[in-house]
């Protein structure tokens, strides 16, 4: 690991000033950053440790009902917060389906949002990667790419965003509060991450020095609490990134859908909100045929970036299953295997 200057600011303005310098990076838990630094993928000259900043580890209900979650709240603490999990159960399920218990105990809310792609060529510094080194090329295009993107990719980059947490967040219109050199601003999580285009290294809309200080979930998104699921297909039962994932949330009155939200993970360089597909659900009685039509619409623009055409049909089927389980109702207690699309007992319904 390349050596670095360690800075521990006492206030947010001090942190922003220290991190606005070229070569600086924020350090929170470090569960992703230290891994990248050990592999030589990230080589910051200065680490600005924000873990000792005050007041960034709180969960508070705002007037009007929105929940404001401090950037340093640990993933596990958020998932197990009763008020949060009751209002936004699909987000809690997504959090608990990610990484391991040890990592969830350490990793922070903002760190999860800003984690890097898990593309193997990004991690392998002997490989060409436009995301790590602009202009170098992309070895994933002709390499092992069955896990790569099927939506929003470019010739320059076919990597995916690995976060589970972000998928229901974009479905529920979550917002991040950012402090920067020009003051405070708010950005929807959906607008935080960028598609690669011809500049994949430009991963998000943050400017030098920008610090995410909080995440906000709108009160309105709690309307889906009774019918919300996050499902994730993995290549092993637990402790694996998503091949494909889906967050589905439905507001049903009688037999009619009043509103619906749908987002996909593991398919693009950002968490993928499927707005046109959602619209097909409004005003209809939910049934299998409708769900299949929604799934077709959600993946209408998908195309393989390599040996991964299977992900498109897999994503369609996962959308159908997520909508089916969401319509059946949020379980009173999260399943033993959060987000698993499979039943734990032979012959049983998959966590319905």
């Amino acid at each position: 690991m390349k050596n670095f200057e360690y800075v521990r600011p006492a206030t947010i303005p001090e942190a922003i000033a220290a991190a606005a310098q070229p070569g600086a990076a924020y350090l929170a838990a470090g569960t992703n950053l230290l891994d990248l630094m050990k592999g030589g993928v990230a080589r910051p000259e200065r680490l600005v440790d924000v873990t000792h900043l005050p007041e960034l580890d709180r969960i508070e209900r705002l007037p009007g009902g929105a929940l404001r979650i401090g950037a340093l709240v640990r993933n596990a603490d958020l998932a197990h917060d009763r008020a949060f999990a009751a209002a936004y159960p699909a987000v809690a399920e997504a959090l608990l389906s990610g990484a391991s218990a040890q990592l969830r105990n350490a990793a922070t809310v903002a760190g999860n949002l800003l984690q890097k792609t898990r593309c193997g060529y990004f991690y392998d510094i002997a490989s060409a990667c436009n995301r790590r080194e602009p202009g170098a090329g992309c070895d994933a295009r002709e390499g092992e790419n069955r896990q790569h993107a099927v939506l929003g990719w470019s010739e320059a980059c076919i990597a995916t965003h690995p976060s589970d947490f972000c998928v229901p967040l974009v479905a529920l219109d979550a917002v991040v509060e950012i402090e920067g050199r020009a003051g405070r601003r708010e950005v929807p999580v959906e607008a935080l991450h960028r598609l690669p285009g011809d500049a994949p290294a430009h991963e998000n809309t943050l400017e030098p020095g920008d610090l995410i200080v909080a995440l906000r979930l709108p009160a309105e998104a709690a309307r889906f609490a009774a019918h919300a699921r996050y499902l994730k297909v993995r290549e092993r039962t637990s402790y694996a990134f998503a091949v494909v994932s889906a967050a589905a949330a439905i507001d049903i009155a009688g037999n009619t859908v009043r509103a619906a939200r749908l987002a996909l993970g593991g398919v693009a360089a950002k968490p993928w909100r499927a707005r046109q597909a959602e619209a097909l659900l409004v005003g209809v009685t939910p049934d299998a045929a409708t769900f299949r039509a929604v799934a077709e619409a959600a993946l209408a623009e998908a195309r393989p970036s390599g040996d991964n055409a299977f992900k498109i049909e897999l994503a369609r089927r996962l959308v159908v299953r997520a909508l089916t389980l969401a319509a059946a109702g949020t379980p009173a207690r999260l399943p033993a295997l959060p987000a698993s699309p499979f039943a734990s007992q032979p012959g049983a319904l998959p966590h319905a």
Binding site: N3, Y6, A29, G30, S100, Q102, Y239, A336, P338
Partner: protein, 165 residues
């Protein structure tokens, strides 16, 4: 540049002078505090061999910078037993053959102590397996590990049940 940090390690106050900010909690414990019970497996947060408790929570010591944990209370495998009396999780691992080669065992045991403390899994084997998925065992002693955690969970939860009754 040097950094002075204070830690409580297995109940003992330790003041540490760090001459390098790159030192992880794992390397600090093993190489500077003479506590090699915490194992270095992958060193990348993938295997769980380095699991310790920091302020009562299980984390991967390989992905934690020591300098950032100034003021933390740390428990390692060396801090579990009371003299010759094993911690209930240690005793249960022996009783249920929860290991073969033993390399992952300190991490497994610390993770199990953390899991039981979290109180989310109860005595549901499926929830225990899921809660322990961050600890890999190349000897595949998983069946024994699950049995050991189940027994330790029941033993440690028993006094609370009696209190409730």
């Amino acid at each position: 540049m040097s950094f002075s940090i204070s830690l409580a390690v297995n109940g003992v106050a330790r003041n540490v002078e760090l001459d390098d900010p790159r030192v992880t909690l794992l390397d600090l414990l093993r190489e500077r505090l003479d506590l090699p019970g915490t194992k270095k497996g992958c060193d990348r947060g993938q295997c769980g061999a380095c699991t310790i408790l920091v302020d009562g929570r299980r984390i991967n010591a390989c992905l934690a910078l020591a300098v950032s944990h100034d003021g933390a209370a740390i428990t390692t495998i060396e801090g579990l037993a009371h003299g010759d009396e094993l911690h209930p999780v240690q005793a249960a691992f022996i009783a249920h053959d929860g290991f073969q080669c033993g390399f992952c065992t300190p991490g497994q045991i610390m993770s199990a102590v953390g899991l039981i403390g979290e109180g989310q899994a109860g005595d549901d084997p499926e929830r225990i397996r899921e809660g322990m998925s961050g600890n890999l065992c190349r000897c595949a002693a998983y069946a024994g590990i699950t049995e050991a955690v189940l027994e330790a969970q029941r033993r440690l939860a028993a006094p609370e049940r009696e209190k409730a009754a």
